[in-house]
Amino acid sequence: MSDNNIITFDKVNKWYGNNFHVLRDIDLQVKTGERIVVCGPSGSGKSTLIRCINRLEEHQQGRLVVDGVELSDDVRAIDDVRKKVGMVFQQFNLFPHLTVLENLTLSPMWVGKVPKKEAEEKAMQQLERVRIANQANKYPLQLSGGQQQRVAIARALCLKPKIMLFDEPTSALDPEMIKEVLDVMIEMASQGITMLCVTHEMGFAKAVADRVIFMDQGQIVEQNNPHDFFNNPQSDRSRDFLSKILGH
């Protein structure tokens, strides 16, 4: 295990209930600053994989180390990891009763104990970055889906995470809004943050990913750089998958 691995999965197994084996012997090393796209058919365990990294799901076997901290039942370890890992969800999960600005300042003020004024200044910088600063005082439900997802990205960035997890960030968006979110993500990718993104946006994968991971039935079936993965898939299952999503 080399020192510049920020995330290490070592024979990680997870079951839902007693018999649904959702992650099988996952071995994965992610280097600091690496940008990874995880894809695979529905139910293949890709969301579960990244949700284990910030312990939204717990694994039952194996070791999972995130930035030097091993995830276990220890609550302090979980808190520690969550401070370093930001996450963006398919359904945005903005807090509908708070304004956009309050969504962004909530955690810095209550967890980071940053004074309100400073938290608001930092939040406005993040909103500028995702080009939505003029909506700061609106409520999330007053925004379009694409705008909401950009706010969600800004909210995660407010914590200055070392790692960003994206769980199908564009799947709930109307087609014309996907680009504005991907543009923000591409810009983030250029700034050296470690990214793991579950997505079916193969254009995004080609543009920014260092590595594409293909999962099926709880296993990592194939991983490769995007060029080779798309042009020369090794396994039958990934060939089949690619033909389905690129075929039309």
Binding site: R82, V85, G86, F89, P96, L106, V111, L141
Partner: protein, 368 residues
């Protein structure tokens, strides 16, 4: 290319009148045959009933405090004189007659406190202090024993002041208990979860009357000799625990309705359990259950009338007390009940209007 010739289309006939009372009646009361039939039936029933009610309540009614006239009008006219004759006992119960300014002042202070607490401008930490001051004032004035005021034992308190005290205190205490119990029923710790579940199921399994009986008669039997808690406090605790169990379930309904993603998002932002509940879950859950909680408040307000059975004469009890003790006026109970029904209605209706305003306040973020 042929030139297009201007061809005016035939003018349409003017629309039937769509505004004003006539149009409203036509579309809403006589829209189709069934509606028209229903309208006619209801109008006939009203025509038969309303004049009789007006004759009884207004035209033939006796307004003077004259029970001979009332007896003469029995059956054809209401006797509102009973209210003016007995209102001091109805409103203040068994509180000593010559010192009834005391419950009056105390009730006015409590009512003022409740009104102030409902106004947004006063929602600040100092409101808690105001509650403490007003409650201390209420108990001092009612109980006496200091400042030259004669002592009035709590079992002589009655009427509207008692109703207001029981309902406002039980509501304000039941709410935080209900919050904790609702959170407890969703706790990950089995011990907390079972304690809360047992509490809710036990309380829901018995009627309020039996809770009051236990608080009033059984509880003292279980206490060591010479140790006693005031009956008012015991009854207050009973109503509070009863209301809290029901309210807890209403609030739990709201908690269940907050999407799991909200809690996950809060977790990824590093919020602790209590921060998540306080900042994310409860604001959304409570906004959803305003109608249900207000339902609880209104029924608690009316349930306080049950304390009569343990010899505390709040509004309803004081009414019976006032009329049962006087054979001259006893036949006019129905007028007395209508009077206190009016008082209850004013309070309950204000509460439901207030709840509509609250709903608008908490749902501002949902407006587009």
């Amino acid at each position: 290319m042929t030139a297009t010739v201007f061809q005016p289309i035939a003018a349409r006939s003017a629309p039937v009148k769509t505004e004003g009372p006539v149009a409203w009646i036509r579309s809403n009361l006589f829209g189709d045959v069934r509606t028209a039939f229903g309208t006619v039936c209801i109008v006939l029933v009203l025509l038969a009933l309303v004049p009789r009610l007006l004759n009884w309540g207004l035209v033939n009614a006796v307004w003077a405090k004259d029970y001979d006239a009332c007896h003469a009008a029995a059956g054809v006219g209401a006797c509102w004189g009973v209210v003016s004759e007995k209102f001091r006992i109805i409103i203040f119960g068994r509180d000593p007659f010559e010192e009834q300014w005391r419950p009056l002042v105390a009730a006015a202070a409590l009512l003022g406190l409740l009104v102030v607490s409902c106004m947004r401008a006063f929602w600040r930490p100092a409101l808690g202090l105001l509650w403490a001051v007003v409650l201390a004032f209420f108990f001092t004035v009612m109980y006496g024993g200091v400042l030259g005021l004669g002592r009035v034992e709590t079992d002589r308190w009655g009427g509207l002041p008692l109703t207001l005290l029981l309902s406002s205190l039980s509501m304000t205490m039941a709410f935080p208990i209900a919050l904790l119990v609702a959170l407890g029923r969703r706790s990950m710790l089995p011990a907390i979860r079972s304690v809360c579940t047992v509490y809710v199921e036990l309380i829901r399994g018995v009627p309020l009357i039996s809770v009051l009986f236990m608080a009033s008669f059984m509880f003292p039997l279980l206490m060591p000799q010479g140790f006693s808690i005031d009956v008012l406090v015991r009854v207050l605790a009973g109503i509070t625990l009863f209301a809290a169990a029901y309210m807890a379930e209403v609030i739990r309904g709201g908690l269940q309705a907050v999407p799991k993603g909200q809690i996950e998002a809060a977790a990824t932002l590093g919020l602790s359990y209590w921060q998540t509940q306080r900042k994310i879950v409860l604001p959304q859950a409570l906004a959803m259950v305003v109608p249900g909680v207000m339902n609880n408040f209104i029924s608690t307000f009316k349930d306080t009338s049950l304390v009569t059975i343990v010899s505390l004469y709040e509004l309803t009890g004081a009414m019976s007390l006032a009329l049962n003790s006087d054979s001259n006026w006893r036949p006019f109970k129905i007028e007395g009940y209508l009077f206190i029904a009016l008082i209850y209605f004013v309070f309950c209706f204000s509460m439901s209007r207030y709840s509509i305003w609250i709903e608008k306040q908490v749902n501002k973020s949902r407006l587009r």
